[in-house]
């Protein structure tokens, strides 16, 4: 019985993620708006720094700053889709397990964030020309995975919290930015080590992966427990 319930939950989680991704493919908001916006942020940061050496050193931080700005746009979009015709209310009314909604939406958001980060990373390599070293690839990949998961989980949790609140557009950044500071710091340091932009060794980046993993695990547990009461109230 427990096995069957787990299987049903997984199927429904996948269905919600697939629905969110289908909505994104139809609307092309990520492709037409979020990616150009985030690349523009990266370019503007480059103009502001206006020094090749400095730009190369701060490139990892710029990638994650642009990701955080874009995260807000993506979270607002994913919950605007639910709110437009009362779909989130309908899911709630229909007794769909809130944990299923949380994980489904977080999975879809993670996929979109992962695509965005690849584009931003490539743009940063082109714009600021930091050297890629083979020994850093595993660290960069691990940073990409755990940071994406952490940001998606936080974004979904706070998106759900602010979904029914007036003034959510301004409230969301106020709530999310302080919370994701550990991801910004950890992911930036890890990418610096992976690229060697500040002269750091690859091995110095791995402890930051530990921090990012703990962060993700904390918000996975918190979201699983709290998302239901948050969208119910």
């Amino acid at each position: 019985m427990a096995e069957r319930i787990r299987w049903i939950r997984w199927q429904r989680t996948r269905a919600i993620a697939a629905k969110d991704l289908r909505v994104e493919l139809r609307g092309r908001v990520l492709l037409n708006q979020v990616i150009p916006f985030s690349v523009l942020v990266l370019v503007l940061f480059g103009f502001a720094v206006d020094d090749d050496g400095i730009a190369q050193r701060v490139a990892p931080g710029l990638i994650w700053m642009a990701t955080l700005f874009s995260l807000l746009v993506m979270v607002q979009r994913t919950f605007a889709v639910e709110a437009a015709d009362g779909a989130l209310d309908s899911l709630r009314v229909a007794g769909v397990d809130p944990t299923v909604i949380f994980w489904g939406k977080a999975m879809a958001l993670a996929v979109q964030l992962a695509v965005l980060e690849i584009v931003l990373f490539a743009a940063a390599i082109i714009l600021f020309a930091p050297t890629l070293r083979v020994s850093g690839v595993a660290l960069l990949t691990a940073t990409w995975i755990v940071s994406t998961a952490g940001l998606a989980l936080v974004g979904t949790l706070y998106g759900g919290l602010t979904a029914g609140i007036q003034g959510r557009e301004t409230l969301l950044p106020l709530l999310v930015f302080p919370v994701v500071a550990p991801v910004l710091i950890g992911a930036t340091r890890a990418v610096e080590s992976g690229l060697g932009t500040t002269g750091a060794a690859v091995s110095e980046g791995w402890p930051w992966i530990g921090l990012l993993t703990v962060f993700g695990a904390a918000f996975a547990a918190g979201g699983t427990l709290a998302f239901g009461p948050l969208i119910d109230d």
């Binding site: 269905a15 015709d85 009314v93 007794g95």
Partner: protein, 231 residues
């Protein structure tokens, strides 16, 4: 239909109890009593019309039946399930269509219905059946909701209720924003739902239309039920 609470693994409805049974129900929103001692019994398969002035408590009554409004006092069972103890299971078997249809604008009619089917493990034949029943097959099934008329959207929302196998339909102003043809079509759908065993509660201001549709009509006034003679 007997239902099993997946979480608890216990049977919670043997189908013998009325669809709705409320006794001295009081519900409060923001300190204001929206339902003030409601007694109501609705048998399975009935179509009951709730009417009354704005703020009378019609929507609150529907929301209570959907397991969305906590009881302050009194007792209630919906489809034989206690509204407090079996809220989650109750929600799974009740369908509420209010002013919003709960649809995804970027998805097509069929994709919306399929999505809801995936939430209840309904198969493709049930999706086809629901689309058929609502007259949504053919080219219309592939139309994005954003391009559908108000009537088509409402029918899609009802198709979602069908595919969810909702046994109690709660319709809040279902005729609003529909043209005459769409209203007639909606009436037929409601009659067919009741004929197939569903219970339908309708809150409406459209008295002439819904009185002809309903098997019973009930006035809601000041958060209380005023059952009309011969209603």
């Amino acid at each position: 239909m007997t239902s099993v609470d997946l979480a608890a693994g216990t049977t919670v409805d043997d189908g013998s109890r009325p669809a709705v049974e409320l006794s001295d129900v009081v519900a409060v929103i923001g300190g204001f009593p929206v339902l003030a001692g409601v007694d109501l019994r609705v048998e399975r398969g009935e179509i009951v019309l709730f009417h009354g002035p704005n703020g009378a408590g019609k929507t609150s009554l529907l929301r209570l039946c959907a397991g969305l409004l906590p009881l302050e006092r009194g007792t209630g069972t919906i489809l034989g399930m206690d509204v407090v103890d079996h809220r989650d299971e109750l929600r799974r078997r009740v369908g509420l269509v209010a002013h919003a249809n709960g649809l995804y604008q970027d998805l097509t009619v069929a994709e919306n219905v399929r999505f809801w089917a995936s939430m209840v493990d309904a198969d493709a034949s049930e999706v086809d059946g629901a689309l058929d029943r609502m007259g949504l097959r053919g080219r219309l099934a592939d139309a994005p909701i954003a391009r559908c008329s108000a009537g088509q959207r409402r029918r899609t929302a009802l198709a979602c209720l069908v595919v969810r196998r909702a046994e109690l339909w709660l319709l809040d102003e279902p005729h609003a924003a529909l043209d005459a043809a769409a209203r007639d079509q909606l009436d037929e759908i409601i009659r067919a739902a009741a004929a197939s065993g569903a219970t339908v509660l309708v809150a409406s201001h459209e008295l002439e239309r819904t009185m002809a549709l309903a098997t019973r009509h009930v006035e809601v006034r000041g958060g209380q039920i005023v059952e009309l003679p011969g209603g």
